[in-house]
C-alpha cells in the first residue's frame, strides 16, 4: 500500500473520569472516503477535534503526508490542508454567507473577489449559494453548503465531515454524495463521521469503528453487512421494535387549517396545517430541520395559543388554552431541546419531574409540593427508562444527552397521556437507548394513546409510524400510510411537492 495521507498512531486523550480515546491507530489513504463509525460517546468527536487542532492529544502522534503533524490550533490545521464541516454548524446567523466564509479562511481575498469565488465554486460543485444572503435565513441544507464551500475554497487535502446528512432530505443527500465523489476524484480525502450504516456502505471506501474510545476494527463497508457494522458499533445485538397490530379508536387530536405567524426573525410561520390522529395511532412528521417543527410543537403543546376552533382534543376545542390546561386534559409534549426547553438545566431530576407532572401525578398537597411523592415518581421514571444517573437529586445538566432524553420522554410517558407530541425523541441518543424509547412510544400507542412523532430521522419514522406527513416551510402534507412509501415519494413530500393525491390514492 502506498503511503497514507494521514497516519494516526496511539492517539490517547483522557478527560477527568473518562478516557475519550484510548490508543487509536489507523490510516487515511489518498483519494479515500474513510468512515468513522461509533455510537454517541464512542470518542468520534474527540478524535476529529484532535485532527483539527481543537484538542491536544495526551499521547500518540500523527503524520500528514510523511511529515509530523501536531496542530496546536485550527488555523494551523487549515494551513496544512485539513478542513472540517461541523455537526452543529459553526456559522454566524446574523452575518452573510461571504462573511461566514471569510471567517473560516486564513487569508480571505477582498469581499467582491470572494463573493465571485463563492459563486463559481458553489456552482461547480452543484451547491449553488448566494454570497450576500444572511445565514440565519438559510435552510439547514444550505447552511451546510456554506460550511463545505468554506473548506473547499482552501483546497483541502483532507476534509472532515461530522454527521453531514443528519439534516438533509434524501435528494440533498444525493447531491452531497455526488459532490463528495467529485472531490475524491480530484484528490481530496474525506473523513466521514456517521452512524447511518446504509450511507456508509454506499459511499465509503474504508470504515473504522470506535467503541468506548477504542478502535474495534477497520473494514471495507461494501463487503460488510449493515447488521455486522451495527453489532461492531454496539458490541452486542439490540432489540428491534416488535411489529404490532394497530387497533384504531376515536380521533383524539384534530388540527384544522391552523395558521400562525412566525415567532421571531428566524422562525417559520405555520401555514394552513391540518392533521388528525386516532387513539392507538402514531403519526410521523418528517421534514428538514427549520421547516416549522418547533413551531408545530409549540402550537400543539399550548406554548403558543392558536385561533379558536383550530385544535380539538378529544372533541373539545383547546385552541385558546395554555399548556397547563392541555396537560390536565391529557395532551403532553416533549420538545426537541432537552436542556432549557424540556428540562431546566440547574434543577434536579425530581424538581424537573414536578414541573410537568405535579398535577397529573398528584404531587401537590394543599398547594405544597409533596417531595416524597415527587421522588417516588422520579425514581419510577429512572428505573423504568434505565436513566443512568447517580440519583434523583442530580441536576439535569449533569446527565449525558442520551440519559436526559430518556428521562424527559419517560417523564411524559409515565403520566399516561391521551395524546403525546414529541419532537426528535431519540436525537443524540445511542442505538440501544433509542430502541428503548421507540418501544415505549409503541407500547403507549398500543394502550390507546394517540401519538405525534416529529423527527428528522426517516428510518425512525418508517419504523414506528402508521402514517407519515412532511413539513415544508410551515406547510404539512396530507398524511399517507407508511406501508408502501418509497424514499422517492418521501423526498418529494419533504421537498414540498403538492401533488400528493396520487400517492394518497
Amino acid at each position: 500500500m502506498a503511503d497514507p495521507l494521514l497516519r494516526l498512531t496511539g492517539l490517547t486523550k483522557a478527560y477527568p473520569g473518562v478516557i475519550a480515546n484510548d490508543d487509536v491507530n489507523f490510516d487515511i489513504g489518498e483519494n479515500e472516503i474513510h468512515a468513522l463509525l461509533g455510537e454517541n460517546g464512542a470518542g468520534k468527536s474527540t478524535l476529529v477535534k484532535m485532527i483539527y487542532g481543537l484538542v491536544k492529544p495526551d499521547r500518540g502522534s500523527m503524520v500528514l503526508q510523511g511529515q509530523d503533524y501536531t496542530p496546536s490550533e485550527p488555523s494551523e490545521a487549515r494551513q496544512r490542508g485539513v478542513g472540517m464541516v461541523f455537526q452543529h454548524f459553526s456559522l454566524f446567523d446574523a452575518l452573510n454567507v461571504a462573511e461566514n466564509v471569510a471567517l473560516g479562511m486564513e487569508n480571505p481575498p477582498k469581499t467582491r473577489e470572494l463573493a465571485e469565488r463563492i459563486r463559481t465554486v458553489s456552482e461547480e460543485y452543484g451547491l449553488p449559494l448566494d454570497p450576500s444572503r444572511i445565514v440565519g435565513t438559510l435552510s439547514a441544507g444550505e447552511r451546510q453548503r456554506v460550511e463545505i464551500i468554506r473548506c473547499l475554497l482552501q483546497d483541502p487535502k483532507l476534509l472532515i465531515m461530522d454527521e453531514p446528512t443528519s439534516v438533509l432530505t434524501p435528494q440533498e443527500v444525493d447531491i452531497l454524495f455526488q459532490t463528495l465523489n467529485k472531490l475524491r476524484a480530484e484528490g481530496t480525502s474525506i473523513l466521514y463521521i456517521s452512524h447511518k450504516l446504509e450511507e456508509i456502505r454506499t459511499l465509503c471506501d474504508t470504515a473504522t469503528i470506535l467503541r468506548l474510545g477504542k478502535k474495534v476494527a477497520t473494514c471495507t463497508p461494501k463487503d460488510t453487512s449493515a447488521r455486522e457494522l451495527a453489532e461492531m458499533m454496539v458490541g452486542a445485538s439490540f432489540a428491534t421494535p416488535e411489529a404490532r397490530q394497530t387497533t384504531l379508536g376515536e380521533v383524539a387530536l384534530k388540527v384544522a387549517n391552523l395558521s400562525l405567524p412566525a415567532p421571531g426573525a428566524f422562525g417559520t410561520p405555520l401555514r394552513d396545517v391540518s392533521l388528525s390522529v386516532q387513539r392507538g395511532e402514531v403519526l410521523g412528521i418528517g421534514g428538514v430541520a427549520g421547516n416549522g417543527q418547533d413551531e408545530l410543537l409549540a402550537a400543539l403543546s399550548g406554548e403558543r395559543l392558536s385561533p379558536a376552533g383550530s385544535i380539538e382534543l378529544l372533541g373539545t376545542d383547546v385552541s385558546r388554552q395554555g399548556p397547563m390546561a392541555r396537560r390536565d386534559a391529557g395532551l403532553l409534549s416533549g420538545p426537541e431541546e432537552r436542556l432549557g426547553h424540556a428540562a431546566a438545566p440547574n434543577m434536579s431530576l425530581t424538581e424537573n419531574g414536578v414541573l410537568t407532572a405535579a398535577r397529573r401525578e398528584g404531587l401537590l398537597k394543599n398547594g405544597f409540593i409533596d417531595w416524597a411523592a415527587a421522588k417516588d415518581f422520579t425514581e419510577k421514571v429512572i428505573s423504568t427508562f434505565d436513566v443512568r444517573t447517580p440519583s434523583a437529586n442530580t441536576a439535569a445538566r449533569a446527565l449525558s444527552g442520551g440519559n436526559l432524553q430518556k428521562y424527559v420522554i419517560g417523564r411524559e410517558i409515565m403520566q399516561r397521556p391521551e395524546v403525546l407530541v414529541v419532537n426528535q425523541p431519540t436525537w443524540g441518543v445511542d442505538a440501544a437507548a433509542a430502541a428503548a424509547i421507540r418501544q415505549a412510544i409503541l407500547d403507549l400507542a398500543a394502550n390507546g394513546a394517540a401519538i405525534v412523532v416529529i423527527s428528522q430521522d426517516l428510518d425512525e419514522l418508517m419504523e414506528i409510524s402508521d402514517r407519515f406527513a412532511a413539513l415544508n416551510e410551515g406547510r404539512l402534507t396530507d398524511a399517507v400510510p407508511v406501508a408502501g412509501l418509497t424514499i422517492d415519494t418521501i423526498g418529494l413530500m419533504m421537498g414540498g411537492a403538492q401533488d400528493m393525491e396520487v400517492a394518497h390514492a
Binding site: T46, V55, S75, F86, S90, L91, A102, L103, A265
Partner: protein, 307 residues
C-alpha cells in the same frame, strides 16, 4: 414665557458640547457589546475618568494629558472587569454593577482635595474660514478638538466593524462565541481588547465632563450619564450611526429643556427634566421598530473554552 431669550446659535453649539461625553461612552460600550460582553460599569468608568483627568490636568496644567490619563485609568479599571468576567467567569451583570460602585467610591476619594478648583480647559479650535462663517461657524466649527474626535470615532468604529477583518471577527465573537472558538479565534483575548477600548472611551467621556463641559470636579458629577449611554446602545440596536443620533438627541433635549426652563415655559419642571430621557427612548424605539436588528446573540453569556 420668552422664547426670544433662546439664541439658536448658542443652542446648537451647546448641544454638541452636551452630547459629546455620552457619545464617547456609548460608542465604546457599543463595541464591547458587539463583542458579546455586557459591561454595566460605564458610569463607574466615566466618573473615574472624570476625576483622574481633572486631577492630572490640574497638576500638569495640560488638559490633553488629563484626557490621556483619564482614558488610561478607566481602561485599566475596565480590565479588572475583564479579568473577573472573562478569566474567572464571574457574572457580568453583578460585576458591572460592582464596577460602577467602585468607580463612584474611588472617584470621590481621589477627588476630595480637588473640590472647588478650576481646571485648564481645552482651547477652541480655530478652523480658519470655516469658523468665520456666519451662524454655521459659531454653531459647528468653533468647538474643541474632542467634539470632532468623538464624531470621527463614530465613523471609524462604523467602518472598522463593517469593512475590516478585525471588525468581522469581533462581530463573529459576539454573535456565536462557540463557533468562533471552533474556527480558532481567541474569544477571550478579543473580548479583553474590546473591554479595554470601551473603558478608554468611557474615560474620555468622563474627562470631557470635568475638563470641558462643567469644568470642575464635584462628587457624582456624571449623574447617570453612563446609564444613559448604556440605554442608548440598546435602543440604537448596536449601530454606530444610531448611537450618534441617540447621543445628540439626548444632549439636544437636555439643553433645550434647560433653555425652556430659563425662559419660564408653562410646563412642570419635573416633566421638562424628564423629557430628555423620554424623547431619546421614544425616538430610538421608533427607529429600531423598523428593521429587526437584534442584540449580538452571545451578549452577556459567559464563554468557557471546554473541549
Amino acid at each position: 414665557m420668552d422664547l426670544s431669550s433662546i439664541n439658536p446659535v448658542l443652542l446648537v453649539a451647546s448641544i454638541m458640547v452636551s452630547a459629546t461625553p455620552i457619545l464617547l461612552a456609548a460608542i465604546g460600550e457599543m463595541v464591547v457589546e458587539r463583542a458579546g460582553v455586557l459591561n454595566l460599569g460605564v458610569e463607574g468608568m466615566m466618573i473615574t475618568g472624570a476625576v483622574v483627568g481633572f486631577a492630572v490636568a490640574i497638576n500638569t496644567g495640560n488638559p490633553a494629558l488629563g484626557f490621556a490619563a483619564a482614558a488610561l485609568a478607566s481602561a485599566v479599571l475596565s480590565l479588572s472587569f475583564g479579568v473577573l468576567t472573562q478569566l474567572l467567569l464571574s457574572n457580568q451583570v453583578a460585576t458591572g454593577l460592582g464596577l460602577t460602585l467602585v468607580g463612584l467610591g474611588l472617584s470621590s476619594l481621589i477627588g476630595k482635595p480637588y473640590e472647588g478648583m478650576k481646571s485648564p480647559t481645552l482651547p477652541k479650535l480655530d478652523m480658519g474660514f470655516l469658523s468665520d462663517l456666519p451662524v454655521v461657524g459659531r454653531m459647528l466649527f468653533s468647538h474643541d478638538l474632542m467634539v470632532y474626535l468623538s464624531l470621527a470615532l463614530v465613523i471609524v468604529v462604523w467602518a472598522v466593524l463593517k469593512y475590516t477583518r478585525i471588525g468581522l471577527i469581533l462581530r463573529a465573537v459576539g454573535e456565536n462565541h462557540d463557533a468562533a472558538h471552533a474556527l480558532g479565534y481567541k474569544v477571550v483575548r478579543i473580548r479583553m481588547m474590546a473591554i479595554f477600548f470601551g473603558g478608554a472611551c468611557a474615560g474620555l467621556g468622563g474627562a470631557y465632563l470635568s475638563l470641558v463641559r462643567v469644568p470642575q470636579w464635584t462628587e457624582g458629577m456624571t449623574a447617570g450619564a453612563g446609564w444613559i449611554a448604556l440605554a442608548i446602545v440598546v435602543f440604537a440596536s448596536w449601530r454606530a450611526g444610531r448611537v450618534a443620533i441617540g447621543a445628540y438627541l439626548f444632549g439636544g433635549v437636555t439643553v433645550l429643556q434647560l433653555n425652556l426652563q430659563a425662559a419660564g415655559a408653562a410646563v412642570p419642571v419635573a416633566l421638562l427634566s424628564a423629557s430628555p430621557y423620554l424623547m431619546t427612548i421614544l425616538v430610538l424605539v421608533f427607529i429600531s421598530a423598523r428593521g429587526a436588528h437584534g442584540a449580538p446573540a452571545s451578549l452577556g453569556r459567559p464563554f468557557h473554552a471546554s473541549a
